[in-house]
Symmetry: C2
Subunit: 551 residues, 2 copies
């Protein structure tokens, strides 16, 4: 007897496309003689549908799609994920359901009980938690069908203030009482470089605890800022990895239940390391943002610095060099190498570039503003004007050519507000806004692993915004190693200032950095969506008041 | 025996300031011979603290503040709101608690059971719901202490797809079994012009249902986009309004328990209408954004149109005319009246204004971009450049003078994306981004109720962006009455397109508008925070995927 794991890349709200993907996988599984095909959580609408779930017409479309897919399930059974109506008089209007389809019918359903409502997750916003649990018997096999978080009744959080036991119910403990043969977990679990090991551990530990195999099916591909790594995993009853599907790629693979249940076969999987995974995640994030919005081409402001260089490399890989163009916008403060380094990179990638000076608009603004600024010293205002002129130029090309401006700010500068709102903070998508500067260098080394694509000078020179003479980032910020250490402890680990100091950071620097982080919430509020690769990215996963007093 | 209602304006995270406010109210209550003083939900940290609740140091500060306030409670008992630690091994780490303080001690606590997690509310993100309920006996009176949503086990939603019974528990039903004498409800309930009546109804209906009085205490003032109307209400056991505190103002008032319990006194309250309330809400929203961020002055781009006119009036009222300045930035496409109308308004309000032309920067940009745009027609690109030049000028003044740019986009144009990102969509705070254009006219009439402040011509002329010759909003959009009807039904009421059509709107227009709304999510993602006055504002209360297919 065989089962198929379908790890697919869904498009939110694109019911026809998702249905087609699902039906193609069903056809393939049938051809391979499979008895059961398993899709991922909320595969019908695509995940996360967010407030589209509040719309009656959206839910009706889900239901229609489920019925149509059920008709395709002839001679095969499918487990799919969809929102379903909660028909009880009380409670939230929906359930997050796993539905079992066969011969045109929904023959079984299981609803999610543990609804993640933290970081980027808002599931209790939409769904009623289930509190009754039963197994689905399939050709003599008793299947415990669970949905993502249902297996995460105990989990590690990066913020140690969090409880590891976030829920008062354990769906798997309830199901275990009914003696299942296999655990099935359908999920939509976004990538975070610090979580890949934790995920595997959860599945392995559940297999060992209940002494039965676990089949986990994740989606892949990106939806706006969230990138799903796929990496669906099958674990035997000893907790050994039986099979893992690829990272960030679609895959439909068929396996034998008997082989999985005998528990003798275990495959050694090469563990991918963080930087290559982050690289692949970001490429996936860019690619899917364009594919799914129907855009083809992008524009990037290329400064000769390392951040825009990395973004250009990632965009060229995601979209093809012919769909990326660069704009070089030197000013009176730009060093000579900023143009030569940028040109060298554009040539190495075979990307079209243009050079436009910002001098004339800058002079025009200075002239117009002179009467208003009489008697005032030059200050950060003039630096910001330059950055904003560049945004006007980039957005003009974006508007005229129908290409999307990619934002090149990194997480370190976004954290401390070292960037100009409506200037270098502009763009449709922030490519590296969740990557600390110190990791940017690691990405550069990885991109250059076979040949020098990013010029060595771009990597080795001192970072500078080049908005005033001889300016260096280090004039206003601690060195990036020091800065990133504090940022990571404050943002990802959410440690109190005193803890960070006690663990070795300089008190004055810690307080200065924390003040900058908090003062600049208003800037990040208006930043583009950030491709998320960490456990705590700026954006929907980190909801801070804009107006508050730094206690 | 007396009780005091303390309706105060808290500052998130400003523990010393909040404590001072609370202690001053306690002092006043003592002087008035009060026995019990009641504050609002989460008054200790200020509401909503959002992800500050994820920080251990923030919670420690709350606890410290509670202990300090308890020491002030000599000869008086206080009910305050604070997060407290959930000491159980399982569940969320916090409770949303009402704590009773007396003689230096916490003598009773009640935790919130119904955790609103919809629209702008995320309470299950932080708090564990309580499932045990008991009364607090105070000098012989049995008090049912509830927290905000705890009384809203049944409620009307604007989206009729929502269930009116969102919860499977009813805290008040449980408490009623223990025969309370009075219901106390501490809340932090944000203003929405469509909810004021519903709120009053809830309290009146609970009083009637349980045949006991209800004392409800709300906070006032604004925190970023959320504006709290106060309007704390006391209802006798017949469901008549015994007393209502003012809208949008602090108030500390003392009443007699005996008078409330005898249930004979009922006061007729004049019901405020929507437009004056919205006006007061927006003034409060601006004022508190500035007061609480420590900024004093603002700048507004004044076009001669009605939107910026309204914003200037509101800002002048909130901040004082001396703290508001206007920038007039005419272009070759501006009509003569755009400057004269703007000047007339600035003079009527006695607000400083400057006129800066955008011609020179516009020419400079056109010149620089000419080689890139060779052979291309003029299009929306050039319109956007003009809007962005204005943003550069406004932000330059903002940066140089340390004043905050107020955004003047209305809800109708934000909805359909009729605005330029990094152009007229720029600003630190969107003043009227939750007010439909048709209500903008009503606000103008209200502002002009005593004398003509906004020039009649500003109100009567056809709306235009003036970015190309003879442009009118009506060239690209349906008339605003038609547009706003569709927008309201789609956004607030979340009706399916077909329902809106069935109820009388033109199908082609409905589909066009819905397409525009959904296509422009990416623009609104980067918009400033919007002062919220409706039941569904753009921003945190409406979470849409940016990348999705319009099903």
């Amino acid at each position: 007897m065989k089962f198929t794991v379908a790890q697919l890349n869904y498009h939110i709200g694109n019911f026809n496309r998702n249905k087609e993907l699902i039906c193609n996988a069903i056809t393939k599984a049938k051809a391979e003689g499979s008895d059961l095909i398993i899709f991922s959580e909320l595969c019908i609408p695509g995940y996360p549908p967010l407030d589209l779930l509040d719309r009656l017409d959206f839910i009706a479309k889900c239901s229609q799609s489920v019925n149509e897919i059920a008709k395709e399930c002839t001679g095969i059974t499918a487990i799919i994920g969809s929102p379903t109506l909660n028909k009880n008089a009380e409670g939230k209007k929906l359930f997050n359901s796993a539905l079992v389809l066969a011969e045109g019918e929904i023959i079984f359903s299981a609803n999610k009980a543990l609804l993640p409502t933290y970081d980027i997750f808002d599931e209790y916003r939409y769904f009623e938690p289930e509190n009754r649990f039963s197994l689905f018997t399939f050709k003599g096999l008793k299947l415990a069908i669970t949905i993502c978080e249902d297996l995460w009744d105990e989990q590690p959080f990066d913020n140690e203030f969090e409880k590891s036991r976030l829920y008062t119910v354990s769906p798997m403990e309830e199901l275990a009482k009914q003696s299942p043969d296999i655990i099935i977990n359908i999920s939509a679990s976004p990538f975070s470089y610090s979580k890949t090991e934790a995920k595997e551990k959860i599945f392995r530990s559940k297999a060992v605890k209940y002494q039965i195999p676990v089949i986990s099916v994740n989606q892949t591909g990106a939806n706006t800022e969230l990138i799903f790594d796929g990496a669906s995993i099958i674990v035997n009853k000893k907790g050994e990895v039986f099979k893992q599907l690829p990272f960030f790629e679609e895959a439909v693979e068929t396996f034998s239940f008997e082989e999985l249940l005998t528990g003798t076969i275990a495959v050694n999987i090469a563990k991918p390391t963080a930087i290559p995974l982050i690289h692949k995640a970001l490429v996936t994030g860019i690619r899917d943002y364009f594919t799914k919005t129907g855009f083809k081409s992008s524009i990037i402001g290329l400064s000769g610095g390392i951040d825009s260089a990395i973004c250009l490399c990632l965009a060229a890989e995601a979209l093809g060099n012919e769909n990326v163009r660069a704009l070089l916008m030197p000013s009176r403060y730009s060093s000579a190498h900023s143009v030569t380094d940028a040109v060298a990179l554009a040539k190495a990638l075979n990307v079209r570039y243009d050079i436009v000076s910002i001098e004339k608009p800058f002079n025009a603004f200075e002239e117009e503003l002179a009467p208003l600024f009489e008697g005032k010293e030059r200050d950060i205002t003039e630096e910001n004007i330059q950055a904003r002129i560049r945004a006007v130029l980039l957005m003009a090309v974006s508007n005229k050519q129908g290409c999307i401006l990619l934002n090149t700010s990194n997480k370190s500068e976004a954290a401390v507000g070292y960037g100009t709102l409506y200037g270098d903070m502009a763009g449709g998508l922030s490519v590296i806004g969740d990557v600390y500067k110190t990791d940017i260098y690691r990405l550069a080394d990885y991109i250059n692993r076979n040949r020098e694509i990013i010029p060595a000078n771009t990597i080795t020179k001192m970072p500078s915004a080049e908005l005033r003479p001889d300016q260096l980032d280090s004039d206003s910020l601690p060195d990036y190693t020091t800065l990133d250490t504090i940022l990571y402890q404050y943002i990802e680990l959410q440690k109190p200032a005193q803890r960070i100091i006690d663990e070795g950071s300089d008190p004055e620097t810690v307080y200065k950095v924390i003040k900058l982080i908090n003062f600049n919430e208003y800037k990040r509020y208006q930043a583009p969506p950030v491709l998320r690769i960490s456990s705590k990215a700026f954006g929907a996963g980190r909801r801070m008041p804009l107006v508050f007093y730094l206690f």
